[in-house]
């Protein structure tokens, strides 16, 4: 008796079952992707656009880090190498640079959408708070990434940014020393910015994205804000002075 030819669909289903019984991941993915949402529009795509741009930044950033040299004497040379010599280096660097601006723009739009839809209200306060933390961390990514190009503009813009931090009373000088890894712009400043830019802050952002996504899935998407139809005005019971007031107005 000949062995029947394997059915590809059957094989795929069996593979899925195999993974399902051992991890439950297919169910998790299905619950994440196929969930009920209220009527939504283009405004609701800003969050997933942000996630896409973040993945773009993480991918291009990892690749750029393979060639980049975070040292005062080598940084600019390695940037030149990425841009001018390496295959498609100009493209990856360009994607990272424009993606950074895109991420900030999308963040503002996304926050604006959430604000004007009132989506930060109960029960979604924690979603708003984790989103705010991601916003602050993204700003820090912008600050620390700007220096890494290590040209004149990058250097002086970072000097100005650090000194702005330094103008805060009491803590200011300590914050700027913390950022500079010392009292003045030194050899360690660029490697500190680099470690913050590619390890510490992205790690925190990834962790917060997971919390943020969990909350979005758990609480559901906020529908369009709408005002309930005005109810008919309740008939007031006549009071002792109501007719008198009406008389006064009529008498004038």
């Amino acid at each position: 008796m000949p062995i029947p030819a394997p059915d590809p669909k059957q094989m795929a289903l069996q593979t899925e079952d195999w993974i399902e019984y051992r991890s439950g991941f297919p169910t998790l993915v299905r619950k994440f992707l196929f969930r009920k949402v209220p009527p939504t529009g283009w405004m609701h795509t800003l969050g997933s656009s942000l996630l896409t741009v973040f993945i773009l930044q993480a991918t291009t950033g990892m690749l750029l880090a393979m060639t980049y040299d975070p040292s005062p004497n080598g940084a600019y040379q390695s940037i030149r190498y990425i841009t001018d010599v390496q295959t498609l280096g100009w493209l990856l660097r360009g994607m990272h640079k424009w993606g950074a601006s895109m991420m900030v723009i999308l963040l503002f739009l996304h926050m604006g959408r959430v604000f004007f839809y009132g989506a930060y209200k109960y029960p979604r306060e924690l979603t708003w708070l984790t989103g705010s933390l991601i916003f602050i961390l993204t700003m820090m990514m912008g600050l620390t990434g700007y220096l890494l190009v290590w040209d004149e503009r990058a250097y002086w813009a970072s000097v100005v940014a650090v000194n702005i931090n330094g103008t805060a009373p009491v803590l200011g000088p300590f914050i700027s020393k913390f950022l500079l890894a010392g009292p003045v712009f030194g050899a360690q400043t660029i490697s500190r910015f680099y470690a913050l830019h590619m390890l510490m802050i992205p790690g925190a952002i990834i962790a917060l994205i997971f919390v943020h996504m969990w909350l979005v899935v758990k609480l559901g998407v906020t529908p369009w804000p709408s005002r309930p139809l005005p109810e008919p005005e309740p008939q007031l019971a006549p009071t002792a002075h109501a007719p008198r007031m009406r008389e006064t107005v009529a008498g004038e």
Partner: protein, 217 residues
């Protein structure tokens, strides 16, 4: 503890051990991260140039002189000083009729490099303006330009040996330990107020030189 069940004891032990491990990793990590906050810089004396490179000046045209504090780190320890030759002869930097005034080129708004003009100095970043004494005349800077203490070595070499923040008021130049740009050296009221609000944690010093009258116009 004698009344604790086995489960309570084990969860307490787990939390305690976790806290201990967290401390063993967290305390040194935090200290490592925050250590630069306590670091202080010292200013190493630097050779600026031969005297005749600066003494040709007439009117107000300060000579720009670059220097590198740490030859191993030229990219981060280089600086620029503006040397103004006053036409006088006194080689004591602190005298009223001192031969040179050596200005730092850092704007006291947020630290951008300034340019010398015929009227004094101007900052391209946010429009700060200074007169020929380095005193702020317009724009956002909060105080006058930093100055370098200088001396003449080997009869013909101009060296800068210390950096001072300054403030010009009452017709005098007042010297202060270096503060970062954007921070006031003095405020109305007792002198400890600006030092608490803006601790000058940047440089270590000996005696702070007293005020010097401005040159007569």
């Amino acid at each position: 503890m004698a009344d604790a069940t086995r489960g309570e004891f084990l969860s307490l032990t787990t939390v305690g051990l976790g806290a201990m491990i967290g401390g063993v990793i967290g305390v040194p990590a935090t200290a490592y991260l925050l250590a630069p906050v306590t670091k202080e810089a010292t200013f190493e004396p630097v050779f600026l140039g031969k005297l005749d490179a600066f003494t040709a000046e007439s009117g107000f045209k300060p000579t720009a002189a670059t220097y590198v504090e740490d030859p191993l780190q030229p990219a981060t320890s280089s600086g620029l000083a503006f040397v103004h030759y006053t036409g006088k002869k006194n080689t004591d930097w602190h005298a009223e009729d001192a031969m040179f005034v050596v200005f730092s080129n850092r704007c006291m708004h947020l630290g951008c490099p300034i340019a010398a003009t015929s009227l004094g100095f101007a900052c391209p970043c946010h429009g700060g303006q200074y007169d020929t004494n380095g005193a702020r005349t317009a724009g956002p800077p909060i105080r006058s330009l930093d100055r370098f203490q200088w001396e003449i070595r080997n009869d013909s070499e101009l060296w800068i040996t210390q950096r001072w923040s300054t403030d010009i008021y009452g017709g005098e130049v007042h010297y202060y330990p270096v503060k970062m740009p954007g921070q006031p050296t003095h405020t109305p009221g007792p002198s400890w107020i600006p030092n608490v609000l803006y601790p000058h944690v940047t440089y270590t010093y000996g005696t702070i030189p007293g005020p010097v009258p401005l040159p007569k116009a």
